[in-house]
């Protein structure tokens, strides 16, 4: 395949698995927003409105993280139930093209949700161009992280129902327990160390800083970026090792 063919394959996969389902069933759009908006509503009400911006930053992260959950489910479903992956294997399409195409499709799928949170953020707390770039960078890195995690987990399951169990646990570990929707100071000091085990904690620090909710020193920001990037690279390496385009 030439680079042009690869690009066409990626874009077609992204359109097929990202745009077409939304057109076929617009209610999907609401389902994407359901969890992030529910959390936003909950933290806003529970905090008397003081955590509204934390909720917006968290909503963006959760929406992008849901890409990983969706990818995990789709990959498992297409491989084990529909045998779609086998159809693609027996074609000129290479494994990375398929994975990137499906990953982009999940990103496309989550864009309307991200747009809602961007609008809310822009209306409530406009940020500088530099901060906007930082938010974009964090979300892009989290997308890579979520994609690699979803892909890696998808390789473990022989039945798509098993993925639902892990999806819930992963969501819990990446979005609820870490301080994605609230400041880390809200977590009791004795168990706060647990939050530092999750890479999304560092993403949340950077997001909250970009929104002006907290102040990060240059050193702290560098550490957060380093942990986030290394986590993503580690998961990328694991995903690469787990990738299997032909059954053994």
């Amino acid at each position: 395949m030439t680079e042009r063919h690869r690009l066409r394959s990626v874009l077609t996969l992204a359109y097929m698995n990202g745009v077409v389902p939304m057109r076929t069933q617009p209610l999907y759009l609401l389902s994407i927003l359901a969890s992030p908006l529910s959390f936003l509503f909950f933290v806003t009400v529970a905090s008397g409105g003081t955590l509204f911006l934390y909720g917006i930053a968290g909503g963006m992260l959760l929406t992008v993280l849901s890409v990983g959950t969706s990818l995990q489910t789709d990959m498992s479903h297409y491989r084990t139930d529909l045998k779609f992956q086998d159809v693609i294997v027996a074609s000129p399409v290479e494994a990375p093209v398929y994975v990137v195409g499906i990953a982009f499709s999940e990103l496309v799928y989550s864009l309307p949700g991200i747009a809602v949170f961007i609008l809310l953020g822009a209306f409530e707390a406009p940020v500088t161009v530099l901060a906007a770039l930082e938010i974009f960078g964090v979300l892009l890195t989290v997308w890579v992280l979520a994609t690699c995690l979803g892909f890696t987990l998808a390789t473990f399951f022989a039945d798509v129902r098993e993925t639902f169990v892990f999806s819930s646990l992963v969501s819990l570990g990446l979005t609820v327990l870490p301080p994605v929707y609230y400041p880390i100071t809200a977590i009791p000091a004795s168990v706060r160390w647990l939050a530092y085990l999750s890479p999304t904690t560092y993403a949340a620090f950077l997001m909250q800083s970009a929104f002006g909710l907290t102040h990060l020193s240059l050193g702290s920001a560098l550490i957060d970026w380093t942990v986030l990037l290394l986590s993503s690279l580690a998961l990328l390496a694991i995903a690469g090792l787990k990738a299997r385009w032909r059954d053994p």
Partner: protein, 313 residues
Amino acid sequence: MSNAIEAHGVSKTYTHSGGKTEALAGVDLNIPAGRVYGMIGRNGAGKTTFVRIGATQLALTSGSMTVLGHDVMTETSKVRLRIAAVPQESRPLYFLNVDELVYLYLKIRGAEAHDARQRTDAVLAELGLTSVRKSLVSHLSGGMRRRAMVAMVLASDADVLFLDEPTTGLDPIARREVWTAIRRAIHDGRTVLLTTHYLDEAEALSSRLALLEGGKVRLEGSPTEIRDRVRQPFRLVVSGVLGRAELETFGTVSAVEGGFLVFAKEAPARELAQLALSKGARVSLGPVTLEDIFLQVVGKAIDADDTPLETAA
């Protein structure tokens, strides 16, 4: 004639928690280019394993297989440029309509938009799917979905098509529409490796056949060659008057609903037919069917009895 697929001593052993299962045991096959090659056998005989190895979806344990001269294990990307497959029990993505299913598949394979459009329109017309092209596949019957899957690969530019039970679940008319499309693919110079449980389909479409049993090739050849190897090549169904003992003087007898099935050589078969008619019995005479051979060969593998249709492979 050159071979599209060549298998030499192909073996496949699955390792699982319960131990090991040998799915293929040293299979040698030469599948000629530009023809339909049928592969028949019971569930678990090794058909799908063979197809999946050829379609580069599964690694073989030992031996070698080439597709269009390229080794499936070491020259995989060259093989994949020229193949397409409908896996067993595969289903189309439920949120696509029929047109999108075919068109987007071609685009994913790298086809230009106008080429993909022309191919999609042509295959949908050929397989009688034009009227449902805008229908979501989730709204179609199981047979129509299967037909849509076949349309996908037939529309592709692949030179070798692996069709693993492509007509399962189709009604007789839909099956014949798929047959027509497969025949057209052959006229275009393509090779089709077809597995099926429908023996009439295998016979109607295939220039050569392989019968797999227990991971081995038990019979191989054209349908005519396979029949020619049968020791008692005629089958008679006799109802009424004649008893089993009398029938056994003509050939090998087994009870069937409403009478007896007799396998016999040509002269005894004619003699028995005349006798039955003269005594007022109902009788039908014809050559053994592929199904007769299949049942006897597979039956022999099951119970190890000698059979009247014993063949020289």
